[in-house]
């Protein structure tokens, strides 16, 4: 599959501050790429460079094979940029707002009206078309932002924190809308701090910290990579210390730690079958009431891979 977005040694400096350092990224057509990292890690800078709003200090960024900076004019019709704030014009209603941006993409006449109506329908904003933009709720504004970037049917959507500060319902609606766009074949780059949602929405993710890309690839891979070994949570009715000492002697067990009356048992690398734990405890007279493998998700993977350092 062709790479729609590609960065090679992308570097951005603000004076002495290095916002991005040799970022190498490849996002394929139809991917939904989740960009995660602590505040100040360089996510917005990357997205702004891809949106042709910033020039890299060094390196190269390509969108649909056009180079940012040299061929920005060719890139702009192909992208839709949603920043982490809502750019609201005063005294403009929803339909005018969309028509305004449609005109900015040189869509005029009857075609413009049709497209705007279609987009309003797709984003479920039809009933709000006469409302003034600056009077909309935050969720509606965010929805309108998505509608705005759909009027010119871009190949790539660059979304910077689209679900930030939204209430749970608005967030779920936004996620469903993005899933629909993904089904429509759009390539989506989305930065967010709400990792479970990214895990649900994205097929690939990139983790960035202090301007450096720590990981980029499928979600399943990162979870696998974060999983250093299997960790089990074990609970017994009486004598957890004795049970811990018993399990620690087993050759497949790396370590056992007590935690609030429960045991956290780490297995050695490569050990995936943990049936022996139950067998050994029961045969030694312990009453087993919990045996659960620790779940490794995007959040845990993120916490394990990043150090929480910000610039």
């Amino acid at each position: 599959m062709a790479a729609v977005i590609k960065t090679v040694n992308l570097t951005k400096r603000y004076g002495t501050l290095v916002a991005l350092s040799n970022l190498n990224l490849e996002i394929n057509e139809g991917d939904c790429f989740g960009f995660i990292g602590p505040n100040g890690a360089g996510k917005t800078t990357t997205i702004k460079i891809l949106a042709t709003l910033l020039q890299p200090t060094w390196g190269e960024a390509r969108v649909c094979d056009y180079v940012v900076g040299y061929q920005s004019r060719s890139i702009r019709p192909l992208i839709g940029f949603v920043p982490d704030y809502f750019g609201a014009y005063e005294d403009m209603c929803v339909q005018e707002y969309l028509e305004f941006f449609a005109a900015a993409y040189n869509i005029n006449g009857a075609q413009r009206t049709k497209i705007v109506n279609d987009v309003l329908e797709l984003t479920d904003l039809g009933y709000k078309k006469d409302s003034l933009v600056d009077g909309l709720s935050r969720g509606m504004k965010q929805r309108l932002s998505i509608a705005r970037v759909l009027v010119h049917d871009p190949k790539v959507l660059l979304l910077d924190e689209p679900a930030g500060n939204l209430d749970p319902r608005a967030r779920i609606e936004m996620r469903e809308l993005l899933k629909e766009l993904r089904r429509m074949g759009k390539t989506i780059v989305i930065s967010s701090h709400i990792l479970p949602e990214l895990a649900d929405l994205c097929n690939t993710v990139g983790i960035i910290e202090q301007g450096e890309l720590l990981y980029s690839g499928p979600v399943a891979d990162i979870v696998r990579r974060a999983r250093a070994g299997t960790i089990l949570h074990v609970g017994v009715a009486r004598g957890p210390e004795q049970a811990g000492a018993l399990l620690a002697q087993h050759p497949s067990v790396e370590s056992v730690t007590a935690n609030n009356g429960f045991l956290q048992v780490a297995l050695r690398n490569g050990v995936t079958d943990y049936g022996f734990i139950a067998q050994q405890l029961i045969s030694n007279g312990f009453q087993l009431n919990l045996l659960r493998e620790e779940e490794v998700n995007l959040e845990t993977a993120f916490m394990r891979l990043t150090k929480g350092m910000v610039q």
Binding site: F81, E90, A104, K129
Partner: protein, 697 residues
């Protein structure tokens, strides 16, 4: 006792808001530049006047030069204070809200008084510091004598009280939520109109009163009702200028001898600064009392009024309008103009302007029937007699030694034998033998004479033009910064819109935005031209005394549009360079007001220069200033007397040559302005990306 002292200490000297602004302000580069610029201008004036203009070593002449220097320095000081005070104080309207510290301040134990006085004094502090820094320069005037210390103190008090009242006004606007960022412009506009309008009204007879002086002669006061209310006029009154001296207490008519009217008339300067200090207190006290109450209210006074007037329904929906092919131009021209407040201002401006012009025209065209008059049928050639109508209604025989005059001009009986109009008979006297010695004829007097109509019309168009310039400067200066502030600029820059398209769209939209306003001075002039056209066709004179020259219908709209475009592109430049709307608006309005004042001053000076420069050359240079052009086209007898000695009489000098010069040179001036606009546009397009990129760091 200690508590009271502590309260007052915390109210002003120990006020944390005042200390923050004063300490931070003193370190700002911008403040340093402004201070250096202010003192630099004063120093340049001193050097120019002392070293260049004063060539004599005669003590009396030096003393005279010192007085002149003091007057010029005082005007410059007051002009700069009037220009800078709104810039420094208007920030109070929005700054706390912009930086989102307002609510935090209100939630602290700071009292209302501390917050209001802290904000007010921190704004005024800079201007007062400027004034104080100028004292050593003013002391130069004491070297040669001739200037009373009291005059210097009055000059400083007038400037300081002007700064204080400006600040108090800004604070009241902020406290009572009658203003937002947009109000800054209205605030500036109000101050400019007040200063300029007061100056113009002072020239009108009705603002003066008549009195009988010590010698028993009935005369008009040189100062007016406006003198104690306008800082420039009050300042002029302290200079002991023979043409602008307040009346003595004993000279005033009895009805004006009661306090405070007598104080107003006899000592306008002290009245002015006392009134301004009082007004400042009157504006600040309610702010102190109601600060937190107003902050708790959920609506603004402005919105409340608009809803009550049914201008705004307060709802948040509206039928969509058709967006143009160039959305940037559409946004500038349509959405800004349609906002409720903007609509009121625009329609109010158009309505008031046209009503004003119609009133002037009606007054001008209304003839007052004189006591004695003649008309076409008055002369009887068979009897060589003249029927004088009016109060007398009698035929008089025209003797051979009768002198007939038209105005000041000796005329044969042309006006009587071949009358083409109606004439008032003045100085109609008869001796004991009932023989006429002199008949002086004049056109029928009108409610508003031609000269007064020209003065008023010029004043009206200048005010309209100034308002248009200020409106477009404000709109242009806020156009890019506002998009930067609300984040819409990034959205636009990520679309295929190019910098050329963006800037052109802005310029086109801004000019479209003010076009309906430009029509107002044009229609005002058109009304008079159409009126005069009918009179001209009826009279058929070659040298017709037009109220407004007909070529004004081409030159005025062209000049107003091009100069407005110039102000627009200048405002856009500032808007692109400045990070905040407040700063961009203040800088642009300051530059436009300063440039117009300088151009108008130079143009007026050139038009009236006598000696080496003849009238046509003055006109040729004068048309490059838009305000002077208006004066040439509307009131040439007053403002370009040398070139347009047209008077109201047929045998006066023919102004045709000067009119042609004005017409062609004005076209060249328009070309020069257009070139300026084009080069600024090109430079903006070229540097747009670079400037935006620098700011995004």
């Amino acid at each position: 006792m200690l508590g009271i002292a502590d309260y007052f200490w915390r109210l002003i000297p120990g006020n944390p808001i005042l200390r923050r602004v004063v300490e931070a302000g003193g370190k700002k580069k911008r403040d340093l530049f402004v201070r250096c610029g202010y003192l630099g201008l004063l120093v340049i004036l001193v050097i120019w006047q002392v070293a260049v203009q004063t060539t004599t070593s005669d003590i009396a002449a030096l003393s005279k030069a010192s007085v002149s220097l003091f007057q010029n320095m005082s005007y410059l000081q007051l002009g700069l204070v009037a220009l800078l005070s709104p810039i420094f104080t208007a920030g109070a309207i929005t700054q706390e809200k912009d930086s989102q510290t307002y609510d935090i301040l209100l939630s602290t134990p700071l009292t209302n008084g501390q917050i209001v006085l802290g904000s007010l004094l921190s704004r005024v502090f800079f201007v007062v510091a400027l004034l104080i820094s100028g004292i050593p320069i003013f002391s130069v005037t004491q070297i040669f004598g001739g200037v009373a210390i009291r005059s210097i103190i009055y000059s400083f008090l007038i400037a300081a009280s002007t700064a204080l009242v400006t600040g108090a006004m800004a604070m009241s606007i902020a406290t009572f939520k009658v203003g937002t960022r947009r109000t800054i412009f209205s605030f500036y506009l109000f101050i400019v109109i007040y200063l300029v309008g007061g100056f113009f009204l002072d020239r009108m007879d009705f603002t003066h009163i008549s009195y009988t002086d010590a010698s028993g002669t009935a005369t008009m006061t040189q100062t007016s009702w406006l003198t104690p209310l306008n800082p420039f006029l009050a300042l002029q009154a302290i200079f002991h200028d023979k043409s602008y001296t307040p009346p003595l207490p004993g000279d005033l008519p009895s009805q004006y001898q009661a306090w405070p009217i007598d104080w107003m008339w006899t000592s306008p300067a002290t009245f002015y600064f006392s009134l301004m200090f009082f007004l400042s207190i009157a504006m600040i006290l309610p702010s102190i009392v109601l600060l937190r109450t107003m902050a708790q209210s959920s609506t603004t006074i402005q919105n409340w009024v608009l809803e009550k007037l049914h201008v705004s329904k307060g709802d948040r929906t509206r039928k969509p309008r058709v967006v143009w092919h160039n959305p940037i131009a559409w946004r500038e021209a349509r959405t800004k103009a349609s906002a409720a407040r903007a609509s009121i201002l625009r329609y109010g401006f158009i309505l008031l302007g046209i009503i004003g012009a119609v009133i002037l025209l009606v007054m001008h065209s209304t003839e007052i029937t004189p006591a004695h008059f003649i008309n076409a049928s008055s002369y009887d050639p068979t009897q060589n007699s003249l029927f004088i109508d009016g109060d007398t209604q009698e035929s008089v025989h025209l003797g051979s030694n009768l002198s007939i005059k038209y105005g000041d001009v000796d005329e044969p009986q042309t006006f009587i034998t071949n009358p083409d109009g109606k004439y008032e008979v003045k100085d109609y006297t008869k001796d004991a033998q009932r023989q006429l010695a002199t008949i002086t004829l004049a056109d029928y007097p009108r409610e508003l004479s031609s000269a007064d109509a020209q003065t008023w019309l010029l004043g009206l168009t200048i005010v309209e033009f100034s308002v248009i310039l200020l409106i477009i400067s404000n709109a242009a200066a806020s156009t890019v910064t506002r998009e930067k502030e609300d984040g819409t600029l990034d959205l636009l820059l990520s679309t295929p819109i190019t910098s050329r398209y963006y800037i052109w769209g802005k310029l086109r939209g801004l000019v479209s935005f003010v076009l309906p306003l430009v029509a107002v001075p044009v229609i005002s002039c058109f009304l008079f031209i159409a009126h005069d056209l009918f009179r001209w066709l009826a009279r058929g004179e070659n040298n017709f005394p037009w109220i407004v020259f007909p070529e004004a219908l081409i030159l005025i709209p062209a000049m107003v549009i091009i100069v407005s475009s110039f102000a627009a592109i200048l405002g856009m430049q500032m808007s692109l360079r400045c990070r905040t709307t407040v700063r961009a608006v203040m800088s642009t309005v300051g530059i436009v007001v300063g440039a117009c004042a300088a151009l108008g001053w130079c143009g007026y000076g050139i038009l009236n220069q006598t000696g080496s420069v003849n009238g046509e050359i003055g006109v040729a240079i004068g048309v490059f200033s838009p305000f002077t052009l208006l004066a040439i086209l509307i009131d040439p007898t007053n403002y370009a007397a040398q070139a347009f000695n047209i008077g109201m009489y047929p045998n006066s000098a023919d102004p045709t040559g000067a009119r042609w010069v004005a017409f062609f040179l004005c076209l060249i001036a328009l070309g020069a302005y257009s070139m300026g606009i084009w080069s600024m546009y090109r430079s903006m397009v070229k540097n747009f990306d670079m400037t935006i990129r620098k700011q995004s760091r």
